[in-house]
């Protein structure tokens, strides 16, 4: 089964995302900031990453930039999932190599639709 790493500092968001992602057929792993997510990726590169922007220690954009410099780090399909909802943030995320962008609040339809756009479903 394919793995999706959920990176968000909110335990509640991680829980909601996990439920939705498991329903659409992913194994889910969790990290609460970019640094933790990088450590996870170095051990076991996931197929997809659902990524928050604002987090302590290392934010989502920094994580994505670092991830793409890791060996094998260009493989995961990254979908941002954040409260940042202005065109400038979206353009920066796509420019850094994100495949899709979800603006919170989200529901299962939005996650599913965005994962289809990203070629994950």
């Amino acid at each position: 089964m394919r793995t999706c790493l959920v990176v968000d500092d909110s335990r509640v968001i991680r829980k909601v995302a996990r439920r939705i992602l498991e329903e659409i057929g992913f194994d889910v792993a969790e990290a609460s900031d970019g640094m933790e997510a990088l450590a996870w990726c170095r051990t076991d590169m996931p197929h997809a990453i659902l990524l928050d922007w604002n987090m302590p220690v290392m934010n989502g954009l920094e994580f994505l930039q670092q991830l793409r410099r890791q060996p094998g780090g260009d493989a995961p399909v990254v979908v941002f999932c954040t409260v940042e909802n202005d065109p400038d943030h979206i353009a920066r995320a796509l420019g850094a190599g994100a495949a899709e962008y979800i603006m919170k609040p989200f529901d299962s339809d939005i996650i599913e639709s965005k994962f289809v756009e990203a070629g994950l479903l």
Binding site: N85, E100, Y101, I102, E117
Partner: protein, 170 residues
Amino acid sequence: MTLDEISVLAELVRRRSGVVIDRDKTYLIETRLAPVARREGFTTISELIGELQARRNETLMWAVAKARSAPVRIWSLGCSTGQEPYSLAMLVEEERGHYPGLKVEIFGGDLSERCLEKASSGLYTQFEVQRGLPARLLVKYFDKIDDAWVLSPRIRQALFFHPSSRRQAA
């Protein structure tokens, strides 16, 4: 058919005709569409649905290529609040480079004038722009005004909305 496919079809029927298919009446879809699927050479209704979804954009660009210098007119009937005609307008804009001199006019028609009003405003909520629209096209063709997303003038100018009901009544 999966539950997802049933709800896609039920939603399509509701939007296009106003007919609501209850969950316990899904046999209606089965009995009506199974012969259509067979006639068109598909073994299941699911295959037919997949093919229809994949083919829409292809068919449009085929028509565009055929038309050469003549203008292509597309009529999106039952366009509800405009998602389909605007998607087609964005597709045409994306492909424009391959078809120099291309002229496309897109008409959106719906029985509901309230829907058409919303469609012609080109205004969508954050929730609406996240269903079936790639983020790449969102930042390319929409502007953000307060909490709403509005389609850029170059997309809106290719579209005309028409209240199909008023014409029939006149």
